[in-house]
């Protein structure tokens, strides 16, 4: 095939998620997280809808990663509730995990397995039905099909990040949680990410991403949230915001 990974129709074969904009995909109610006595997330309320791409901005220590870890069921809230695709995280965590894909600072990959073995392992763990074709599809999309039999240990940081993105979307999640997905990405990786974000939008998938790159956040997101001391202090469409004002606001904190 002489088609570039980004021009391939591979994503078009995916089952489209049900696009119901008024029913929130994520509903966070009075969420609080404390580490010892320090409140990291404080009585936070938030709704995210299908098809939305939301940038979560904030200074270091604002609570962005903690919020993402709670949504990913890796961290238990001190109080409050989180519902994802109709399932409460504390009541049906397995059902929630089946609905989310996560890209974090660490790639969550096994360095001594090959790219294909990593994807096969996660495909089985997620119960992906069309495992073989889906793995081929993902490897092609992230531009690593020629490196499928190479161990992840031999990959550059950018290639590992691309594979991490591939792992996160392998099971076609309804909610994609991206913690600074642009960090460490090579040029091809940035294009892959851009395409995936576009695809999530058209299929009704929700994306919540943190980033320190305001330009990237404003360019890729529909909605921007600003988190300060565990509370959302700004919630606005990306088109109504400008980079300088946001930068000033973040720098003043």
């Amino acid at each position: 095939m002489n088609v570039s990974p980004l021009e391939s129709p591979l994503l078009a074969s995916d089952d489209e998620a049900v696009f119901t904009p008024r029913v929130p995909r994520v509903k966070i109610t009075r969420l609080t997280k404390r580490f010892e006595r320090r409140g990291v997330i404080r009585a936070l309320d938030l709704e995210l809808f299908p098809g939305e791409r939301v940038a979560l901005l904030g200074a270091n220590g604002a609570g962005k990663t903690t919020l993402l870890r709670i949504l990913a069921t890796l961290s238990r809230p001190t109080s409050g509730s989180v519902s994802i695709a109709g399932h409460l995280t504390h009541k049906a965590p397995d059902k929630v995990r089946a609905q989310i894909g996560v890209v974090a600072h660490q790639p969550y990959l096994y360095e001594d397995l090959t790219a294909e073995e990593n994807l096969r392992f996660f495909a089985r763990m997620y119960g992906v039905a069309d495992e073989r074709s889906r793995i081929d599809e993902i490897l092609f999309m992230i531009g690593l099909i020629s490196r499928r039999d190479d161990r992840v240990r031999t990959f550059s940081r950018g290639m590992q990040q691309r594979l991490a993105i591939g792992r996160a979307i392998l099971h076609r999640p309804a909610l994609l949680l991206l913690d600074e997905p642009d960090s460490g990405l090579d040029r091809e990786g940035a294009r892959v990410l851009e395409r995936i974000l576009g695809y999530q939008r058209t299929t009704g998938g929700t994306v919540l991403m943190t980033t320190h790159d305001l330009r990237f956040g404003l360019a890729t997101a529909d909605r921007v949230l600003l988190l300060e001391n565990g509370k959302i202090v700004l919630d606005a469409p990306a088109t109504t915001l400008n980079e300088e004002e946001l930068d000033e606001r973040l720098s003043s904190r």
Binding site: T73, Y108, D112, R124
Partner: protein, 223 residues
């Protein structure tokens, strides 16, 4: 249940494949176990009547310490590289993840024992290839791996994990260590009357701590 077994198999497959390629755990554990057996063999008087008791102690010291080494490393390697969080993100019951890691650890320790036991038998000139002794060995290792897997996960997220793991494990493992050494000595000396009671104790311990570890694993891995 079928799905759960398939996922447990995948976790074991992943751990075995990683170990075959890196040899980070098994080599160290085996060398430690064999070296301990050899050292004790030279230290003890092998001509007297107490060689069975000394041998039983030496064998369990070797296996337990090799186990500490392997358990600590097996979880901390995965924690340090962040891949453990990737595993926790999978839509499977956390108990399934525990069972996968536990069986993997049990396999590694058993493999070390499989190679070390004949060396032990030759050096100490003891007949260890008795069904009852092999059962005792299995039950002792099972309890060790069950408690060890849970505590290794707890200790792996701390700074002083190498020290913390044995400190946490020692008081909980004491019944299994005492029962294992005692039953091994009884079998090696041919006093099989009390063996049943000790084996029952080991079996009960294994069932209890396997169930507890399975049930609390979810709490242990979450922040």
């Amino acid at each position: 249940m079928k799905g759960g077994l398939a996922k447990i198999s995948m976790i074991i497959w992943k751990d075995l494949l990683t170990e075959i390629r890196t040899k980070e755990l098994f080599g160290g554990m085996l060398i430690f176990a064999v070296l301990t057996i050899i050292t004790f063999n030279f230290a003890f008087d092998m001509t007297g009547t107490g060689k069975e008791a000394s041998g039983a102690g030496a064998m369990w010291v070797a296996f337990n310490f090799a186990g500490f080494l392997g358990l600590g490393r097996s979880i901390s390697l995965e924690r340090d590289k962040g891949s453990f969080d990737g595993l926790l993100l999978c839509p499977v019951d956390r108990g399934t993840i525990f069972l996968g890691k536990f069986i993997g650890n049990l396999l590694f320790i058993s493999l070390v024992e499989l190679i070390s036991v004949p060396i032990f038998a030759a050096l100490f000139d003891l007949n260890v290839f008795q069904p009852l002794l092999l059962l005792a060995l299995f039950l002792g290792t099972l309890g060790f791996a069950a408690v060890g897997t849970l505590l290794a996960v707890m200790a792996a997220s701390t700074r002083s994990r190498e020290v913390l793991l044995p400190v946490l494990m020692f008081p909980i493992l004491l019944p299994v260590v005492i029962a294992s050494v005692r039953v091994t000595t009884l079998i090696l000396t041919g006093q099989t009357n009390d063996v049943g009671a000790w084996l029952n104790l080991l079996g009960a311990y294994d069932v209890l701590f396997l169930a507890i570890s399975y049930a609390v694993f979810d709490r242990v891995v979450e922040e």
